[in-house]
């Protein structure tokens, strides 16, 4: 369950100082001073100019990542959510690589935009279809507890029985400053977690520039990233030409990593504001 205290104190607060949670007594006001983080004009140069993503830990929640792929480079850690003989789920170190190619593709996109990020793979696919939702939830919970700054989720579930727990996890991530970047659906179905306001949801646009992205003034899809005809990293050290929101999502995740490397104190809502201000349809591409 969500704890009643601020779980990720701002860097300006000392670790041992207890911060107010449910109400703010007058004598505590001085203790929650917030430095002004966003400038009057938020430009791309301010947001990520000169950033390589160094120091930012990005988690790819997917089918695994192929090790030693030239377009992916070093993978800090690979884990998988596995079911034991009693049916319990565990997160264990994983040597399977990528069972499909998709996770490798997403990792390669993030790496192409933010070359110095630390990549971690959480494999939540490949253990059979049944129970896929439970495995995804377990992998996501692990990623949040590990405190990755960005989690790429090019996947979704339509099962309503998972919605409540998924929603709780998404909100938990939001308050822990774990940014969930999730693929939207281009089909007429209800699916999650991309519909939640606490995540960054991504659809596709058709342009070839990886840094072109749009803010959508009519959500639930909030941003559009590059998602058409991409040469992405695939199994066997090669590439494949792919299309889909799954590949637009790591573009936005990569841009978020660039921003967070330069401005590590940003909260998810501040980061969403920066994305909005720097979107190509908000003059950000100028």
């Amino acid at each position: 369950m969500i704890r009643a205290v601020s779980v990720v104190p701002h860097e300006s607060y000392s670790e041992d100082e207890e911060l107010p949670a449910w109400s703010l007594p007058a004598d505590a006001v001085g203790r929650i001073r917030v430095p002004g983080t966003l400038p009057e004009e938020v430009t791309r140069e301010w947001a990520w100019g000169g950033s390589t993503g160094a120091g930012v830990r990005v988690c790819i929640l997917d089918s695994g990542i192929e090790l030693d792929h030239p377009l992916v480079g070093q993978v800090e850690r690979s884990v998988a959510v596995l079911r034991d003989e009693e049916g319990e789920l565990h997160v264990s170190d994983d040597g399977e690589g990528d069972l499909c190619g998709h996770g490798t593709a997403c990792a390669g996109v993030v790496r192409s935009l933010a070359p110095d990020v630390e990549l971690t793979s959480v494999r939540v696919l490949g253990e059979g279809y049944t129970g896929g939702g439970e495995i995804m939830l377990r992998g996501l919970a692990w990623a949040i507890e590990e405190g990755f700054q960005v989690v790429n989720m090019s996947l979704s579930t339509t099962r309503t029985k998972y919605v409540e727990r998924l929603h709780e996890l998404a909100d938990h991530a939001y308050f822990r400053r774990v940014l969930l970047v999730a693929s939207a659906h281009n089909m007429p179905v209800e699916s999650f977690p991309w519909r939640f306001a606490s995540v960054i949801s991504v659809g596709s646009h058709e342009e070839p520039d990886p840094l072109t992205f749009y803010y959508n003034p009519t959500p639930p899809v909030e941003f559009f990233g590059r998602g058409l005809d991409l040469d992405v990293a695939w199994l066997g050290g090669g590439t494949l030409r792919c299309t889909g929101n799954s590949f637009a999502t790591p573009h936005i995740a990569g841009i978020c990593a660039l921003i967070l490397a330069k401005h590590p104190g940003l909260t998810p809502f501040q980061l969403k504001s920066v994305l909005h201000q720097t979107a190509s349809n908000a003059g950000g591409g100028q």
């Binding site: 499909c100 279809y129 089909m187 799954s246």
Partner: protein, 209 residues
């Protein structure tokens, strides 16, 4: 809908074939619209965690129906589990995938569009379009169009599954088999009376239950 209601509504016998024809028509239109070499629908068998070829138009038509492969890995499995459509070109460069594809189906496509078949919150299977025409440049509208087709195929697949479940319930050792036998022996006029009797029994059950 109860199995008996589904059975009656579907006309029981013959419905399976009619729904299979509807599914076949859907893959044929999908193939024609994308001017593709093949289009197919895979049904998820949740008990064995496998995907089964349920309808095929074009390459492999008549040979692949009933063929099974694990749902947990590969691109179709990924589409099913993540609920995300996927378009992949230059498939030949994925040699591992190409080899397994050639071994199982005898046909290795260059490109594949795959989309999950969703009815309400359930994922029933996957629609795949192989080797679409390269004359038409892919845009996001084509991906959306594929999503619309998937919706139609999902409804057809859902109907097929319902009819099958109804038939299984009515056939052989199925729990409704005695009813089917009685209904089959009755003349048409008597059948109506039998259904009325069933309705009265159902009402009685509702009142006691």
């Amino acid at each position: 809908m109860s199995d008996l209601e589904a059975a009656v509504a579907a006309g029981v016998l013959g419905a399976d074939e009619a729904h299979r024809a509807l599914l076949q028509a859907t893959v044929e239109v999908a193939r024609a619209i994308f001017r593709a070499k093949a289009a197919s629908v895979f049904l998820l068998d949740e008990e064995t965690d496998e995907l089964v070829f349920e309808a095929v138009a074009g390459e492999g038509e008549g040979e692949l129906i009933g063929m099974r492969f694990p749902a947990g890995n590969g691109m179709a499995g990924w589409v099913l589990t993540t609920r995300q459509p996927l378009v992949v070109d230059d498939l030949h460069s994925d040699t591992r995938w190409s080899r397994s594809q050639a071994e199982s189906t005898g046909y290795v496509p260059k490109s594949m569009m795959s989309v999950p078949l969703l009815v309400e919150e359930r994922a029933l299977g996957v629609l795949s379009v192989l080797d679409r025409s390269t004359e038409v440049r892919l845009t996001l509208s084509e991906v959306d169009l594929l999503g619309l087709f998937a919706n139609q195929a999902a409804i057809a697949l859902d109907l097929l599954q319902r009819a099958r479940r109804a038939r299984e319930a009515l056939a052989g050792e199925g729990r409704l088999a005695p009813l089917a036998k009685i209904a089959a022996r009755l003349e048409e006029g008597e059948r109506e009376t039998a259904f009325e009797l069933l309705q009265v029994l159902e009402k009685l059950l509702r009142q006691t239950g």
